[in-house]
Symmetry: C2
Subunit: 141 residues, 2 copies
């Protein structure tokens, strides 16, 4: 099963941050929500890379920086994440606005298509706004 790869507290979070929030750098993951320790973050990224879920490439703008990006195998986790997000919204208290969730739920295919499209275009603007904030910008799709 895939739980050997994703069955820890952080791996899926990282995948989600890449997929949905457009994070790409070590720093972004680190500054993200719950605060992962740098050694664990490093270990997880290596594991995900070794298992073909993410790939790393040197950042062009900044020689110090590395960009992590989902592979095709990684982006294919979108349906899993989407269902998980929907489940969470229904059964746990989340900070995601319910209107957004409902929209996603009734339009899974469009949501996924948009996710894939952004990935293919290397568009890293977040698909979901950072949550604690109210309703941002325009709905895409």
């Amino acid at each position: 099963m895939a739980l050997d790869l994703l069955g820890d507290r952080w791996s899926l979070l990282l995948v989600r941050d890449m997929m949905v929030r457009g994070y790409r750098t070590f720093r972004e993951f680190q500054r993200s929500g719950e605060g992962i320790a740098t050694n664990i973050l490093s270990a997880r990224l290596q594991k995900l890379e070794a298992r073909g879920v993410v790939e790393r490439e040197a950042a062009t703008e900044d020689g110090r920086s590395t960009h992590y990006r989902l592979t095709a195998k990684g982006i294919a986790l979108a349906p899993v994440l989407l269902e998980m997000l929907i489940w969470s919204a229904h059964h746990e208290q989340t900070d995601a606005p319910s209107a957004v969730i409902e929209q996603m739920e009734h339009n899974r295919a469009a949501m996924l298509a948009e996710t894939y499209r952004r990935w293919a275009k290397r568009d890293s603007t977040p698909i979901l706004p950072p949550f604690p904030s109210p309703i941002t910008t325009r709905t895409k799709m």
Copy 2:
């Protein structure tokens, strides 16, 4: 996020075993695949119960035994598990026959409907046969 609840090596496995293989007792989980330690199993079942994913009830046939069963919240994880299973089949090597997977993939709704139906009827015959074995004659129990 729900990863706080399911983000460990065992919790989702247990949910899967209940949902897909019809496991209900401590012993069944223990004898299952990877071999979870009894103390961890106990702890996970308690956690899942505390978080409303499973509920326990005394077994009628055997006074020593307890039955664990998914709650509505628990069975609602079916889409997540299904997508995960499909992802695994595509991107990791699994022991599940590909014909079965393909069937599931092209018929998600039916698969889910059947899962819900069995849950509602308290039918605990496994929806998927135990895998490593080729063709299973009779469903166990």
